[in-house]
Every structure is written in C-alpha cells, then in structure tokens.
C-alpha cells in the first residue's frame, strides 16, 4: 500500500513527512450510498471474507437539510424529520435490503456522510493508502479503504425564475427522497417544472404518497418523455403546459401559494398575454437530473460531458472503473438515461459489476457478471435543452431573480462578471467596464469574480445554471464550458466537527504557519550579503509560526 519512509533520507521536519493523517478504522471495500446500486454492490461484495462497509448519509441532520444539502429540500421537511429514530425505522422499512446487508455481514453505517475521498497520489503522498472522511450527526473520522464504490445518486438542476427563492420550490428528487425515505414531505398540490422521464418517474412516485401533481410545465413544444408515464400523470389530473415556463411563483410567509405559467416563443421570450395561473403549494424542479459526482471529481477522477448520460459524469470503463482504478462508480452518479430512470435494475446491475471489479482487484475471483447496459434509446441534446430552459426562465425573467441564492448573484451579474454587490463598486467609465469581458468563459473564474456558486449550499443549486449562462453569453454549447471544480468537504461541516480528526503528536510537535524557514523572515537589514548555502534547522525547538 505504502512504502515506509527511508530512514536514511532526511526529510524537512516542517513538511508533512511522517505526519500521516490519523485513521480510526479500516475496510477493504467502501460503498457510498445505500440506494439500489450501493445495496446491490454491498450484497454482491459481502460473504467473500473481505470487510465491506456501506455508508449512507440518511437520515441527514436537519440543519444540513436546511442548508439545501445534498438536495434542494426547499424547506418542505415535515416535522417527522426531527425524530431521528423514527426516520431510521422508515428508512429501514423502505429499503429492506439494508437489513439483508446487515445479515450478510456488511458493516452498515446510516446517518454517515462521506465528505471527501483522499487517495495517496503524487503530490498527496503523505496520506497512507486511500482515506475517506466520514461524518455522522456530530463526529468526524477517517476511514482507510482499498476500493471504493461511489453510488451517490443524483440531484436536481436548479432553475431561477421570479420567486424561486421561496420555500416550496424544491428539487423533484429532494421531494422523492423526503416522501419515500423519510415519509415526511409537506406537499399537497405540486407543479412539476420539466418533463423528462426521470422527473415523471419521481412525480409518479409522489402521487402514491398523496401528492397531487396539478400541472407539468415544459419549455419545449412537446413532452418527449415516456408517453405511457405521461398518460398516467394526465389521468391523475395533471395539466400539461408545453411551450411554457414559470414566470413567477407567488408566496406568503409559509411558502409557495401559486405560480404563473407563461407561454414562450421559439426564442424563449414570453408571449404577451398568454399566462396561466395555477394554485399550488410546491414547485418541483425537474428540468434535469444531475449526477452527484462531487466526491469522485474532487478526488481527482476524470470527468466529461456525455449527453447520453445526462451531462458531466466520471469517465468509466465497462467494469465501472473511473480513471483512478480503486474508485468505482455505479447508479445515477454514473449518469442517467431513459431506460435507467424507468427501471432501477440497471443501477443494481452496475452495482454488482462494480462489486465484482472491486473483489477482483483484491484477489477474490467471482463469476464475471455481464457488463451493465450502456445508455441507449433517444439521446437528447442535453446542452441545448439546458440552454433553452435557462434562456426562457432566467434570462427572460422580468425581475432579475438571483441565480445563486446563497450569494445573491443575478444572471446579468454572472454574464457581466460583476464584482459582488457588497462592494458597492461602480465602474469609473465605460472603458473600465468593457475590459471586464472574457472570450473564454470559465466557471471557476466566474466563481472567483462574482461569488456565484461560493455559498453554503456549495453551488448545488446554481452551478449548472452558471455554466449554461456562460455558454449562452459566449455563444458556446454548454458541453464546451469547463466543469467548475468541486472541493472537499463536499458536505458543509462545522469547524468543531471537522476538527475532531485530531493532530497526531508528530503534527502537533512540528506545526508551522508557513514553511518554517528562518531565513525567509530575516529582516532585510540583517541580511549581511553572505552567500546562501543549504542548511538544516538547528536546535531542538522549531522556528515558530510566522504570523501574517
């Protein structure tokens, strides 16, 4: 796994050498996410004499849900969410395979989030082996693993319109999770925004939980999803408004009371006078299912925009291996397409293949499963669809809604790369303003300049919109816009909680604010002009941290 440091080599004592992060536990195969793919992987990996650990962040801390992490819950968590034990029971009832996994000897840890994957690699060589950062409701720790299967699922693309900041505007997957995993969704009458198959599947499941889907609003001139599914929803009373977007959501203190759907022309502009008022308490954002790739991307796995898989996904081979061979990906975080949304057998199949790959890498030979099915059926122009939504809903919104709700940044501020409003900066003249354009837009630059995507929800609600806006303004397809980087911790954690992973004695014994090089901080008037030669620190006490 790791070569010990050569005792005959001298390593800078102020560096990370010999201070490896303290690991509290080890496993052979770590599986992140106890959905269909993760559970199938756990059951396939169990029983071969290896340690298999399955973690799932549900039940989530209420505070995390309130931060719209990991999904856009829109404040629609019912009171039951606060009772962790009852939620745990609901979760176990909803997913009987969790109990099977326990019986099969899997180390199942619910209410445990993985906030980072840290492989020992060149430039992070001080880590011993591969490490996952874990966090439950109030603790944090490090777990060493040999193979990891990431089955972290999906989230919903955000889409700004006037009033989308109100409680009651939420992701359709968030609603689905609250209704099915927590049995705690506060929603009676909902409007579904978007109509791809994944959105319709989720909406259909919500009907079974007592939600009335009163309307489906789709910017395209027709619904292209599975027709049988659409018929079911229509039969249950859903009005279909194609060629429409939401012009405004009205709300009182408790949240959404209704929406105005406006008809749009071919360029996404509102058609004057063609508006439909609909009463509802919830708007379900279902314009695009986004693979939850934050863990794998932040760990350094290569990703690419694949329309057939719904957008940016990790590059994987037929064995579900990412570009880092010990990181495997299965389920919706490997991408979604129509057939996969309709039947979770594909996700389960991916999970089993990933388990086989992980076992084989650890020397356990099992009968090779067929490779999981690849995307098939109609390939939608995901980039063009996102651009159409953002143009019609956000760019043409009347009152400049915030695209980034955490940092309060509008579409025009994102396109114009404007400094944030708290600086109260106005350009001295037109030349000063006109220099602030970029021919090659990059979302990471936009983050730095406008602060869009930089808030506590970690860009979950706005990052696809920001990329789409940059594409629209530069006349480029969204798939040509770089993916903004993800950063650990991929779940917001308090300083106190993250700090529970303690400094080792070696770390504590030699901690310096900056490189611990006395000569670097020698005042210039004491530099006598002598030649520089190599030196090692002298004396027993290290040089103190230099502040500033």
């Amino acid at each position: 796994m790791t070569k010990p440091l050569d005792p005959d080599t001298y390593y800078d004592p102020a560096s990370v050498a010999g201070k490896a992060p303290p690991v509290s536990d080890e496993t052979d195969i770590l599986i992140v996410g106890a959905g269909p793919a993760g559970l199938a992987a756990a059951l396939a990996a169990a029983g071969h004499g290896l340690r298999v650990t399955l973690v799932d962040e549900n039940p989530l801390p209420l505070e995390t849900m309130g931060e719209e992490v990991p999904l856009h819950f829109g404040g629609r968590m019912g009171a039951a969410v606060a009772n962790r034990n009852s939620v745990l029971q609901t979760l176990l009832d909803a997913r009987p395979q969790i109990a099977e996994a326990l019986d099969a000897g899997v180390d199942v840890r619910l209410g445990t989030a993985v906030w980072g994957l840290f492989p020992q690699q060149r430039t992070t060589a001080w880590i011993e082996g591969s490490i996952a950062g874990l966090a439950d409701e109030d603790k944090a720790s490090l777990l060493r693993f040999r193979q990891v299967i990431v089955a972290a699922g999906r989230r919903d693309m955000g889409l700004a319109f006037d009033g989308w900041h109100h409680p009651g505007v939420m992701g359709v997957s968030a609603a689905h999770r609250l209704a099915t995993v927590y049995d705690a969704l506060e929603c009676k009458r909902a409007v579904l925004l978007g109509s791809d198959t994944q959105a319709l599947v989720s909406a259909h499941a919500l009907i079974a939980k007592g939600v009335q889907i009163v309307a489906i609003v789709e910017q395209a001139d027709r619904v292209s999803a599975d027709p049988a599914l659409l018929d079911l929803l229509v039969a249950q009373g859903a009005q279909v408004l194609s060629g429409h977007v939401i012009g405004e959501a009205r709300a009182d203190a408790r949240g959404v009371q209704g929406i105005t759907a406006v008809a749009i022309d071919g360029a996404g502009r509102p058609l004057p006078g063609v508006a439909t008022e609909i009463e509802c308490d919830t708007v379900l954002l279902g314009v695009a299912a986004i693979a939850a790739i934050e863990l794998v991307e932040a760990a350094g796995c290569r990703t690419s925009f694949q329309a057939g898989r719904g957008g940016h996904v990790p590059d994987i081979d037929r064995a579900q291996r990412s570009s880092l061979p010990f990181i495997l990906v299965a389920g919706d975080c490997a991408g979604t397409w129509t057939a996969k949304s309709l039947d979770d057998a594909i996700a389960r199949h991916e999970g089993r293949v990933a388990a086989h790959t992980a076992l084989a890498a650890l020397g356990v030979v099992t009968p090779p499963p067929e490779p999981a099915p690849l995307p098939d059926g109609p390939v939608f122009d995901v980039a063009a669809i996102r651009a159409a939504w953002v143009r019609a809903s956000t760019v043409h919104a009347r009152n400049e809604p915030y695209v980034c709700l955490c940092e309060e940044v509008t579409a025009s501020e994102i396109i114009g790369q404007q400094p944030p409003r708290y600086l109260q900066w106005t350009p001295a003249d037109a030349a000063v303003q006109s220099a602030m354009t970029s021919s090659l837009p990059n979302p990471d630059v936009t983050k730095r300049l406008t602060r869009a995507c930089m808030g506590p929800c970690q860009g979950r609600r706005c990052r696809e919109q920001v990329a789409t806006l940059l594409g629209i303004s530069a006349g480029l397809s969204v798939d040509g816009i770089a993916l903004a980087s993800f950063r650990p911790p991929v779940r917001p954690l308090s300083m106190r909680q993250l700090g529970q992973v303690e400094e080792t004695p070696q770390m504590f014994g030699h901690w310096d604010a900056w490189f611990d090089m006395p000569s670097q901080w020698t005042p210039f008037w004491l530099c006598t002009g002598q030649q520089t030669v190599a030196r090692r620190p002298t004396g027993t006490t290290h040089t103190p941290p230099v502040e500033g």
């Binding site: 070569k3 600086l423 993250l498 529970q500 490189f515 030649q531 030196r535």
Partner: protein, 377 residues
C-alpha cells in the same frame, strides 16, 4: 516586451511597464492567477522585506490606481494562545520598531473587545497599525483589466514552448500560436520560472511545495478582518467568510505540478480545529470548502528579482512563496530593473541570483525538500 506568467508578480510588472507606455504582452500557460497568486491568504504585511515600505505606500492607493476593487483593508491583529506564540509576536514588535511603526499590546479582554469571536483561551494580542489584506482573485483580475485598459495584452492558455535567442539577447518566445518577438523578456512563471530560465542557461534553484487552506460560511464582519494566530494565517473576507491556512507543506516534483490539480487533504481537519480554537465562539460555523496550491521556494526562502548577468535583456522573478501582498512593489521593482537597470526605491541586493554561487549541488537533499514516496498512480 513579453512577460511570462499571469500571476500577481507578472501582472503587476506588466501593469507597471504599460503605465510607462511600454508595449507589453503577458503569456500565461493556464488562466490568470491559477497558481499560488490565487491560492493564498491575501496578507499585505511583509515588514522583513526591502519592498515593505513601497508595499505599504501602494496598497491604500491600489483601487484608485488600477480602477478596480482589490478589497484591500488596513491593519492586522495577532492573537496568541500560548507563551510560545507570544514570543514570536514580541519579535515582530521589535522589527516594527525599526521602522517606527505603531503596535498596541492587547490584554485578553481588549482582544475580545476588538475580535468578539475570540475566546477565554486568549493569552495576549497585538494590534499592528500597518499591513492589511486584500482579495487575491479580485486583485489579480484588477491588474489584468488595468493592463488591458493601458493597451497591454494578455494571452491565456498559451504556454511557452521555447525561448529564442541570438547570442546574449533573447529575440522572441515560441508558443503554439507561433513565434512572438520581443525586445525584453520577464520570466515570472511561479514554479516554472526555474525550468524556463534553465533554457537560457540561467540556474534558479527552486523546489515546489503544496499547501492548503479552508473557507467557512460567511460570518458577521469583524472590525479588522486580518486576524492571525494559533499557527494559522488568513483573513475574514469582506463577504464574511473566514479563509485560513497553516500547517505542514508537501514538497512535490515539478513534473506533477502541471499534471495534477493541487488537492487538499485531511490536513483541513487540523486547520479547522485550530481555527475553532482561535475563534471558539464561532466553532459551530461550517467549513464549506478547502483548496490547495503549489508554491515555489528558493533555498533561503527569499525572492529572486534579478537580471542574469549573462543575458542582456532578461529579468527573472520569483517571490518564493510570499508574493501576493508584495506584488504592487515587486512589479514596480521589476519595471525599474527592465527600464532603468536598477530598483529606484529599495536595495534589493538580497534578491540577487549571485547569492547562490556557493550553493551545494545537492542542496535539496541536504534540506530534505523531497517528495515523499508514493504508489505512483
């Protein structure tokens, strides 16, 4: 005039030159400030440096000079939780006295009065009536936009493939777009400064390291945002986030710098704990991201700003890991070297390459600045 490297040092130099009416082109291999210039604590307080007086003179003027906001704010506070930390600040007090600068010693209650999020564990505090902090990203872009407004040009995604020379003169720089000729060349390419200079036979001893920082959710604004302590450096941004770093660095192989994004590691846990100790009243606030950066270092940690003697028209610059805050002054010094042949406002002889004439060939091994063994994935 070509400047290689669109970090703070290269951009500031280009901006200073453009202010003189020089026709400047900046070539950047990646994006503006993608190296250490965009990955630092934003401090503007380097009293050890011969550039300090000019740094302090310029920062309060930078927004106006550049025409864009840098988020500069004056003053620094240091909070000590241990006697050891106090002893370090006392050294800084002595050095400030050399300049006649004001430092107020604060008792624990005074510290809590000015930094209400500090706790009962404070031993002592120091209010430095000099220095300050600014936003690195905003400053970088301000240099770039100001350069553009003066007629300077900047090409991103344009790595230098080779440097053309005739005798002792550099005649141009080759990129994928072709050969660009120049009268003068400035190399300020961060970790890559050494390998570019080596193409010209100029040896600049450098080793690169990785360091990391964390960022919290926004908090109510402190009176003074530049608060260090407990082994950490950093600042509260004007948005309210705490951005702090510190702790051990990792020496890396330069070849890996181009291949890998700088990754943060579980060190973020240790930084978070120290920050919670420094500001216990906000220990419940969330860390929302971390990041890492690559920083080049000279053997003594001091900058190089010099014109190699063997070449007529080349200037090399690396700030050795302490470049952001000094950038208004380092750009001025580079401009002076390029245009006038000498720095007009400070004695920068301690930045000369000649100080390495007696450096051992294996200095990197002697100092132990070595990448650690890794599985080589």
């Amino acid at each position: 005039m070509i400047v290689v490297g669109a970090g703070v040092t290269g951009l500031s130099a280009a901006w200073w030159l453009a202010r003189d009416g020089v026709d400047v082109l900046v070539l950047e291999a990646g994006l503006i400030g993608w190296g250490a210039s965009g990955r630092n604590g934003g401090g503007c307080s380097h009293h050890h440096s011969p550039l300090f007086v000019e740094e302090q003179r310029l920062w309060p003027l930078m927004d106006e000079l550049l025409g864009y906001p840098t988020e500069y704010r004056p003053d620094r506070i240091s909070i000590d939780l241990t006697e050891h930390q106090v002893s370090i600040d006392e050294k800084v007090v002595d050095e400030a006295a050399w300049y006649g600068l004001r430092v107020d010693r604060l008792d624990p209650q005074q510290v809590r009065d000015v930094v209400p999020i500090a706790g009962d564990n404070v031993l002592a505090g120091y209010y430095y009536h000099f220095g300050g902090h600014a936003n690195p990203h905003r400053t970088l872009q301000a240099y770039a936009w100001a350069l553009k407004n003066l007629g300077g040009r900047l090409l991103e995604h344009s790595p230098v493939l080779s440097i053309e020379r005739q005798g002792n003169r550099v005649t141009g720089v080759r990129t994928a777009q072709g050969l660009i000729s120049c009268d003068q060349l400035v190399i300020a390419a961060g970790p890559h400064t050494g390998e570019l200079a080596a193409q010209l036979g100029v040896e600049i001893p450098l080793v690169t390291a990785r360091a990391e920082m964390i960022v919290t959710e926004p908090l109510p604004l402190l009176e003074v945002g530049g608060v260090d302590g407990n082994g950490l450096y950093g600042r509260q941004t004007l948005r309210g986030n705490l951005a702090y770093g510190g702790g051990p660095h990792e020496w890396v192989d330069l070849r890996d710098v181009s291949r890998n994004r700088a990754q943060s590691t579980p060190l973020q846990c240790n930084i978070a704990r120290r920050l919670a100790e420094l500001f216990p009243k906000v220990a419940h606030k969330r860390v929302i991201r971390s990041w890492a950066g690559f920083i080049e270092n000279t053997p003594d940690g001091r900058p190089v700003i010099d014109r190699p003697a063997a070449l007529d028209n080349v200037t090399v610059a690396t700030m050795s890991g302490v470049g952001f805050g000094l950038s208004p002054a380092s750009g001025h010094a580079i401009r002076d070297l390029v245009v006038d042949g000498r720095c007009s406002f400070a004695d920068i002889s301690s930045f000369s390459l000649s100080r390495f004439a007696a450096l051992e060939a294996d200095w990197q091994n002697i100092q132990g600045w070595l990448p650690l063994p890794s599985p080589g994935v």
